[in-house]
Amino acid sequence: MHIAVCIKQVPDTKNVRIDPDTHTLVRQGVESIINPFDLFAVEGALKIKDESGARVTVMTMGPPQAEEALREVLSRGVDEAVLLSDRAFAGSDTWATSMTLSAAIRKLGDVDLIFCGKQAIDGDTAQVGPELATLLDIPYATFVKKIEKLDDQNLKVTRQTDDGVEVWKLPTPALITVIKEMGEPRLPSLRHKMRAKKAQIPVWGIADLGLDANDVGLCGSFTQVVRVFSPPRRSDQILITGSIEEQVEQLFSYLKEAKVPGV
């Protein structure tokens, strides 16, 4: 079994914000991290490797420094890594990203199962997984928390919905997007760290992937950001003080006034 995991390096959102006074983006201390959902995806793939043996290849499309992210997951036990990097990829929306990733999956050739995170925390779109599956014409399931083998051709996946869980039968090759319950990411091991340090990571650009510059990056994107601004600040903040009894009374009338159902 060959499993591919798609990971993305994202700015750590906790440091990204617009300064309320100057209306400019505060970039102080914005570090890059691996999208947390993608670490759950890596863990899911490694669990299958542990249990029934599998080759796990991780890939990311991003700037040259996204190589760090690949080395980090290599040090957690992933077998191989590929970096998809080209100036022409800049400005990709989810369509252009999926297009690029689909070309890379085809180039790998023999992939049976693809893991993506549920969503990337920079854009929170949750679209790349399903779009990638569509471009590869393989079935997919989103928000998966458990994956089991049903028989030689089929997987049994448990997915979380708004109203409960669903169990689907999914024939391979297939793609799943995963949530936290897939498993806490394991830590890097010393052995794999050594290997990760020395690993040769191939870099594939548009020529390697046989893509046209018009199909990738900003050129290949359909959506365009026309304005970026700070969310309106809440002007309706109050603080309740006094004795416990007074606070209880105040909160109760506050909720009553706001017509909150249930009070």
Binding site: P11, T13, K14, V16, T24, L25, R27, P36, F37, P63, R87, A88, A90, G91, D93, T94, S98, I121, D122, G123, D124, A126, Q127, P130, E131, T134, P139, A141, F143, Q160, T161, D162, D163, G164, V165, W168, L170, P171, K180, N214, D215, L218, G220, F222, T223, V225, V226, R227, V228, F229, S230, R234, I240, I244, Q247, V248, L251, F252, V260, G262
Partner: protein
């Protein structure tokens, strides 16, 4: 590719340097340089008061013949035989857009042996036309069946705009629709409008809600967006007239690759976070697993759900399915009550869209107070039981 600086307009004021989230801008003595780190996010374009920075044009590549596309569609979602309220909300928002563009508003209803009342209900919430597709394969949701039928309908009827709820169903299959049709899709919008040129302006939070972005899809059709539940206002138009059109599906459309083996509805009402109007959430401040009972009592009284911080989940006090935040659920109830949780940014990104946020925390400097609409500085063990007593008293 990167943002472009017009040297004639640039005054080298340096403001752009500080706004670039990727540190791609360097302001030199005599020029502003943009490096390859540039991701074309557009942040600098917006800040430059001299209009000196611009982004290269998005692809005009495989664009659609725009004039052929007309009207606004809403994907109508149902649960347990009734229209889901997100569809009412979408129709409310879309009615306004349709009136602004002077076009028809249609709802698409996919299912099997659905009650006739559903179509009427959609009309009374603003639809001019209801396209109804009835087929045994649509009785249960799967990505492929739903997407492929919707794609087929869109190819035949060509709407200009398609909206769907950003629910576990919409967010799962709508990307397949967009990718099949080769068009753009914006996820989880919280604001929609029509631009002067007639394009759909799709506004949504990014970077965990710290930044808002307005997105357009100039060349692909339909322009597609999923819309966050509980944000748009439904309309009740009991006099509104509309018609229902049953649509036959094209032969051989179902691929049947995926099979639903089992559907297990959540029994625990307090775990239905995304549906809940009221969420009472707890964190490490609760101190012990048993203390979640305090929150459960209030949640039951108010018919709400119980949420939790990752802190509480990591302690093993409550199941991970209750976790709210970056790696848990994103929720936006009418009331979110945060009890004994500090309000770490990873928690806040999952709940800051809530209408009313009440924070109960004994530390007046806890960051949760920055997002709370109503802050209560108190010891939760004193405050919560007293508050529950009050709610009960008022009931009697």
């Amino acid at each position: 590719m990167k943002a472009v600086v017009d040297v004639k307009k640039c005054t080298i004021c340096g403001v752009c340097e500080g706004v670039c989230p990727f540190a791609a801008i360097t302001v030199g003595e005599s020029s502003v340089e943009i490096s390859d780190e540039c991701t074309l996010c557009g942040m600098c374009v917006d800040t430059c008061e001299f209009g000196a920075i611009s982004l290269p044009e998005v692809g005009t590549g495989p664009g659609a013949d725009l004039a052929e596309y007309n009207g606004i569609w809403v994907f109508a979602e149902w649960r347990a035989g009734a229209v889901h309220r997100v569809s009412h909300e979408l129709l409310g928002a879309a009615r306004r857009l349709a009136d602004k563009k002077a076009v028809e508003l249609s709802a698409v209803l996919l299912g099997h042996q659905l009650d006739k009342g559903l179509a009427t209900d959609l009309i009374m919430h603003g639809a001019d036309i209801v396209y109804l597709v009835d087929h045994p394969q649509l009785g249960q949701f799967t990505n492929e069946a739903y997407a492929d039928v919707l794609v087929d309908l869109i190819r035949r009827k060509r709407p200009e705009i398609l909206l769907a709820g950003a629910t576990s169903i919409g967010r799962s299959f709508i990307p397949r629709v967009a990718a099949s049709l080769k068009t753009g899709l914006t996820a989880d919008c919280t604001e929609l409008d029509i631009s002067e040129e007639g394009l759909l302006l799709q506004t949504r939070p990014a970077f965990g809600g710290n930044v808002m972005a307005t997105i357009v899809c100039p060349h692909g059709r339909p322009q597609m967006a999923t819309v966050r539940p509980k944000v748009m206002k439904p309309l009740k138009l009991s006099e509104h007239q509309g018609r229902v059109e049953s649509v036959e599906i094209t032969e051989g459309i179902f691929r049947n690759r995926v099979q639903v083996l089992e559907i297990i509805p959540e029994q625990d009402q307090t775990a239905k976070l995304t549906e809940a109007d009221i969420i009472i959430s707890g964190g490490r401040g609760l101190g012990r697993p048993e203390n979640f009972a305090i929150l459960e009592e209030l949640a039951q009284l108010m018919k709400g759900a119980v949420g939790a911080s990752r802190g509480a989940v990591e302690e093993g006090w409550i199941a991970p399915s209750h976790q709210v935040g970056q790696t848990g659920r994103t929720v936006a109830p009418t009331l979110y009550m945060a009890v004994g949780l500090s309000g770490a940014i990873q928690h806040v990104v999952g709940m800051q869209g809530s209408k009313i946020i009440v924070a109960v925390n004994k530390d007046p400097h806890a960051p949760i107070f920055d997002v709370a609409t109503c802050g209560v500085v108190a010891d939760l063990f004193e405050f919560m039981p007293a508050f529950i007593r009050k709610v009960k008293q008022e009931r009697e």
